[in-house]
């Protein structure tokens, strides 16, 4: 899977998950960083603390090469059924889920060894 496909799959699965919540607004923002990418997803679906915790757990699951390399290829392509964050979680370096002004913000860092998650957070995203 090349870089473009990889990004499309992950963005597709994230969009699938967010749209399951039927938000009235969704913003997906992708930023090139040194040795990797920073994907930010925001939406305005109301979520409980438990839902946020579950999202963090699914996205923050340990790296599973055996699942990422094979079953992870379903990310963004399995439109029947609910969006599954774990498919994305196995493939990213780090993930953070937080609530910001009644919106849910998901930060995903995808990339190589030099990528430093947490740096250069884009604070001002249009649309929300």
């Amino acid at each position: 899977m090349n870089r473009k496909e990889y990004i499309l799959h992950l963005v597709g699965e994230m969009a699938h998950f967010v749209l399951d919540g039927e938000p009235t607004r969704m913003v997906i923002s992708l930023h090139q960083e040194q040795d990797g990418l920073h994907l930010v997803v925001l939406d305005d679906s109301p979520r409980s603390d438990e839902e946020i915790r579950n999202m963090q757990a699914a996205l923050g699951s340990a790296h599973r090469p055996e699942l990422a390399g094979y079953y992870g290829s379903m990310a963004g392509l399995d439109l029947l059924g609910q969006g599954r964050l774990s498919l994305v979680g196995w493939q990213v370096k780090q993930a953070e889920v937080s609530r910001v002004n009644n919106t849910t913000r998901i930060n995903l860092w995808l990339g190589g060894g030099q990528l430093t998650p947490g740096k250069d957070l884009p604070e001002d995203l249009p649309g929300l």
């Binding site: 749209l19 039927e22 938000p23 009235t24 699951s61 340990a62 599973r64 090469p65 055996e66 699942l67 990422a68 390399g69 094979y70 079953y71 290829s73 379903m74 392509l77 399995d78 439109l79 029947l80 059924g81």
Partner: protein
């Protein structure tokens, strides 16, 4: 770093494999078991050859344990977590070691998948699941070695090359097949190996003429084989309860609420103890079904039950399995077939590959899936000349693809008619009775 629970699983598997080897030698005697073991390496193994009838129960048990030990060692060497998917794979190899897989016919496939990973710059551990389950094509390797009439040395070379070649083709096909049924058939490599088997059957038929499909079925297995599953179930449930105590039972109840859609690693989603309890209970239920319909607990049937038990850590549980078995049962009775016959019996057990359909869309869809599965599986074996051991996985993958296509079309068309505006459909749903 290997966790305490993972260490326990390694210990558990080593114990089971050692017990199988011990029981094997005890059943048949040391020299006869070794002779039988060698015989199995050069015996045709296409569907449906029961190794317990081909070379004796002892040799079959030792063969199965050795094949599973290779799989387990591969998991350890590649430093992949021993969890739901890998437990399912090792149990599947153990089960199919009783009717088709041997240590010698699975090695070229591992090598092929390894080379395929190298070819595209991936690490082998990313394709380890494909390699482990890809051993479904073991009979193809044996067939090239002993069934095409080549001299032994030449046949061995052709077999090794053929095994490596199909191993290399497995990853691209497996990834594509996964998208067809979207994770609603648990034996995805069954569908993949079915397609590859079709191709290989066409090539072999064109070059070597038609190959007859043989059948060996042990109708009167010994007491050891008959009691193997209940003993294993007690061990699994006992271990789970000891390891997790009350949490094991509450976790088991949580597992029953999951759809089981691929990939559902119950061991990491809910926990190892609860998954062990689920494995034991589902295994015992499958054994009870076989006993109730009067089926023999021979190599293929034990293989099917061991596969069900393995996948009880990776997608199956009582709640999503019963509608599939019900559907197969109904089809068997309506079509006037024997419930204890090889086809319907194995379809009822292996047909549970479709469990996620029942888990996600409810018992009715599960019953329909099970019904269609029986009709399908009776056809597909001949297509690949029995080269794909996961014939039920092939048929189940096709059945799931048909049903997923229909359900997806119905749901998306209805959603389109209702209006594509998210807010609107949410409002409408709130107003619906």
């Amino acid at each position: 770093m290997v966790s305490r629970e993972e260490m326990f699983l390694y210990g558990f598997f080593c114990l089971i494999l050692a017990l199988c080897i011990g029981a094997g030698f005890a059943l048949q005697g040391f020299p006869a078991t070794l002779r039988g073991l060698w015989q199995l390496q050069i015996h045709p193994s296409r569907l449906l050859i029961d190794f317990t009838a081909a070379a004796g129960e002892g040799a079959a048990l030792v063969n199965a344990a050795l094949a599973a030990a290779i799989g387990l060692a591969l998991v350890a060497i590649t430093r992949v977590r021993l969890s739901g998917p890998t437990v399912a794979a090792v149990c599947t190899i153990l089960g199919f070691g009783l009717f088709g897989k041997t240590p010698t016919n699975i090695l070229p496939i591992f090598l092929g998948v390894f080379l395929s990973a190298r070819l595209v710059g991936k690490r082998f551990n990313e394709y380890i699941m494909i390699a482990l389950f890809g051993t479904a094509l073991g009979p193809l390797v044996t067939m090239l070695a002993v069934e095409i009439g080549a001299a032994p040395a030449v046949g061995s070379l052709i077999a090794a090359a053929g095994g490596v070649a199909v191993g290399m083709l497995l990853p691209p096909l497996a990834l594509t097949m996964l998208r067809l049924h979207q994770g609603y058939s648990l034996y995805n490599i069954g569908l993949t190996a079915g397609f590859l088997g079709l191709l290989m059957a066409a090539i072999v038929s064109a070059s070597a003429g038609t190959l007859e499909m043989g059948s060996l079925w042990n109708a009167s297995p010994s007491l050891v084989l008959r009691l193997m599953i209940p003993a294993l179930s007690v061990l699994l449930v006992g271990s789970g309860m000891l390891l997790g105590r009350r949490a094991a039972w509450s976790g088991f109840l949580r597992i029953l609420r999951l759809s089981g859609r691929l990939p559902s690693d119950f061991m990491s989603m809910v926990g190892v103890p609860a998954s062990l309890v689920n494995m034991g209970i589902l295994g015992f239920a499958a054994w009870l079904y076989v006993v109730l319909v009067g089926g023999p607990l021979n190599g293929p049937v034990l293989g099917a039950i061991l596969t069900v038990m393995g996948f009880a850590a990776f997608g199956k549980h009582l709640r999503n399995v019963w509608p599939i078995v019900g559907g197969v049962l109904a089809a068997t009775l309506i079509f006037g077939k024997d419930l204890a016959g090889p086809g319907p019996l194995l379809a009822a057990l292996f047909g549970t590959t479709l469990a996620p359909l029942a888990g996600e869309f409810g018992p009715f869809v599960g019953l329909v899936a099970g019904f269609l599965h029986l009709a399908m599986v009776e056809r597909t074996g001949a297509w690949h000349l029995g080269m794909n051991l996961y014939n039920n996985g092939f048929a189940g993958g096709l059945t799931a693809t048909y049903l997923v296509a229909v359900i997806e079309w119905y749901r998306s068309s209805r959603a389109g008619r209702r209006g594509a505006t998210p807010g609107q459909s949410a409002e409408r749903r709130k107003g619906e009775p």
